[in-house]
């Protein structure tokens, strides 16, 4: 009933606008018109948790941005020969080289390296986790290690166990590298999470002390989020205990702990449908428990939401350390601690930009490098590898980065279903 009421209200606003012939509406006014008043969801019903809210995805679409839809990706892996041609077009700083490390790794998302050198790779909706191992002739081969999950985007390896997060379950697979032929039966170590799809896919950030930081996105583009969402939690897989770390967060699918301080840093995908250049996606730094990062009231640290911002000031919230750009979709990130790259890369951050869909001209589709002080001061951003765009054609979509044991950087690409390796030689 609530949903129907909301729908007809939006219709009334739309109809009134039509009657009075508001021919020229700004993007902001359009957003207000289409979303009516503050949006909230009745999360008491089972139906809410089983299905996405009726307007979670396209409910805020504006006339100016109509027809913009998420990138469809590629249903099958890009053949190896084609990958070589793509990588020949990728620009890198002097001395760096990019090559195909493994092809046919379906929908490659977050990566985790086992202690014996197996690379575990999550997927988006394929529902599998791949194990990439040495095949004949030293060629890397990906095998489906775990199958039948929903959206196992996030993986982590610690204490000889593989952890996989699949929307509402955190699974633990003991001793996976000695059982690559058949994945051991997992143990569910944490499941106090909502089961819906929208922004339900997650990333695992080991905190270095045995716990995981886990992001919880809201089930909408912009809304007052239901309880237990729009936040980062810290979860102890040993006993299922959890604590709230930060709130006011839209969709985060990447984060890492600063090796210098132990602080959590995370990337955040800002809201859609406010125009091609607004608002910027973010790199955030958590400095105290319970910090509020602004969603849904304030975006990019300095603009109020046209609907939710009323009665608020951006000064109430923690601003980002870096505004990464509109719609560029920052996903996986890591601090670099290796010895292969030149000294200026030490303790800097690599971010995989999945690339834009909610803007007319595509941007992103690259690996960014951020050097920044441990306190968040003096951030400097530069493009490290890219772009996976040729004119407006998408050549690939970086989804995660991982430092390999030798200090090279592995890059997951979920459009080409490949893992690349970036190395450095003087």
């Amino acid at each position: 009933m609530k949903r129907q009421a909301a729908l007809s209200k939006a219709c009334i606003v739309g109809a009134v606008a039509a009657v009075f012939g508001f021919g020229v509406l700004t993007a902001q006014a359009q957003t207000q018109a289409s979303s009516g008043e503050l949006k909230s969801y009745d999360s008491n019903s089972k139906n809410f948790w089983a299905n996405p809210p009726p307007d979670w995805f396209l409910g805020d679409e504006t006339k100016a941005q109509k027809g913009q839809v998420p990138n469809p990706g590629q249903p099958t892996p890009t053949p190896a020969a084609e990958l070589e041609k793509i990588l020949a077009k990728i620009q890198l700083p002097k001395g760096f080289k990019i090559e195909v490390w493994a092809s046919e790794v379906p929908q490659a998302r977050q990566m985790a390296m086992g202690s014996k050198g197996t690379l575990f790779v999550g997927t988006f909706d394929k529902g599998t986790v791949s194990a990439v191992v040495d095949g004949p002739g030293g060629k890397k081969v990906a095998k489906p290690f775990i199958t039948g999950l929903r959206m196992p985007t996030g993986v982590a390896f610690q204490d000889n166990a593989l952890y996989v997060i699949d929307i509402d379950k955190l699974y633990k697979y003991e001793n996976p590298e000695d059982n690559l032929d058949k994945a051991p039966t997992p143990k569910v170590v944490y499941d106090d999470m909502p089961p819906y799809i929208p922004h339900g896919w997650k990333y695992l950030v080991p905190d270095g002390k045995g716990w995981f930081y886990i992001p919880f996105g809201p089930p909408c583009n912009i809304c007052y989020p239901p309880t237990s969402l729009s936040q980062y939690r810290r979860v102890n897989p040993a006993n299922g205990m959890a604590e709230l770390v930060a709130v006011g967060i839209r969709n985060s699918v990447g984060g890492a702990v600063d090796p210098r301080t132990g602080d959590l840093w995370f990337t955040e995908n800002a809201r859609d449908w406010l125009g091609d250049d607004m608002p910027s996606d973010k790199l955030n730094h958590v400095t105290k428990l319970g910090e509020h990062f602004g969603y849904p009231y304030c975006h990019q640290g300095d603009i109020l939401d046209p609907v939710f911002g009323k009665g608020h000031k951006c000064a109430e919230f923690t601003p980002p350390v870096v505004k990464l750009g509109p719609h560029i979709a920052p996903l996986g990130m890591k601090f670099y601690t290796g010895n292969m790259f030149p000294a200026e890369y030490k303790n800097g951050i690599f971010i995989a930009e999945h690339g834009s869909w909610n803007r007319n001209k595509k941007i992103g589709y690259r690996i960014q490098f951020i050097s920044v002080g441990p306190d968040g001061k003096n951030p400097k951003e530069s493009t490290f590898a890219g772009t996976w765009l040729e004119d407006q054609k998408i050549l690939g979509r970086p989804s995660d980065v991982l430092q390999a044991p030798d200090g090279s950087l592995l890059v997951a690409d979920d459009q080409t279903s490949a893992i690349y390796r970036i190395s450095y030689k003087k």
Partner: protein, 210 residues
């Protein structure tokens, strides 16, 4: 206000004057294809013969509950074959067949069927109230992904000229969760609040589109 009210065509006293013309045109062209169509490449010729036994020689289906494939977007076709091969989408008659397809087969099948001329507008017995359907389709932003002419794009199917009973089946499968589409769950959002009657109306309206 009237625009947004849900009304069933049986209760609606008026019908667009253009729709009877549309039916006549549709009746004339339904089930026929015009001109020759491209030959599939040698590597998938045998596979296409198998497909054709249900989906039609020219990718236009004459069999109930079996979709037309002609002019479907390349990426959409590939995804469906991958989903069926992986068992993510359950289509019993396709299961064994799809298991044998290689990635290369799937890419070639996508390219081939997307290159065929689209099916003609379908004749439907059901009368369509344009206004009532628009009131269902507009707030769901169907045209944003499926395009204003419903010819589809990327991972989103061509809906224009599809068999109407198949469109009803597809919507019902999304609503029940039997079919998920791709990861974002958009089709669940779109279909979950549709009644059976809505689905029949939308399907007839889409099927009649050239």
């Amino acid at each position: 206000m009237q625009l947004c009210k849900r009304s069933s065509p049986s209760r609606s006293p008026r019908r667009g004057a253009g729709s009877s013309v549309g039916v006549a045109v549709a009746l004339l062209t339904a089930g026929w294809t015009v001109g020759a169509f491209a030959e599939p490449p040698e590597s998938i010729r045998e596979i296409v013969q198998t497909c054709a036994s249900c989906h039609g020689q020219d990718g236009v289906s004459a069999i109930e509950n079996t979709p037309s494939l002609a002019a479907q977007p390349d990426i959409f076709l590939q995804y469906q074959l991958v989903f069926i091969r992986d068992g993510q989408r359950k289509v019993e008659v396709m299961q064994e067949f799809a298991k044998k397809l290689t990635d290369q087969n799937i890419r070639e099948l996508g390219a081939y069927y997307s290159s065929l001329p689209p099916p003609p507008a379908q004749a439907t017995i059901r009368k369509v109230d344009d206004k009532a359907v628009t009131a269902l389709v507009e707030p769901r932003h169907c045209d944003s992904c499926h395009k204003p002419d419903f010819s589809g794009q990327g991972e989103s199917a061509r809906l224009a000229g599809q068999r109407p009973e198949y469109l009803v089946k597809a919507l019902a499968d999304f609503r029940s969760g039997a079919r998920r589409g791709r990861g974002l769950g958009i089709m669940i959002e779109v279909s979950v609040s549709l009644h059976d009657e809505d689905m029949h109306m939308i399907a007839a309206w889409l099927a009649r589109k050239p």
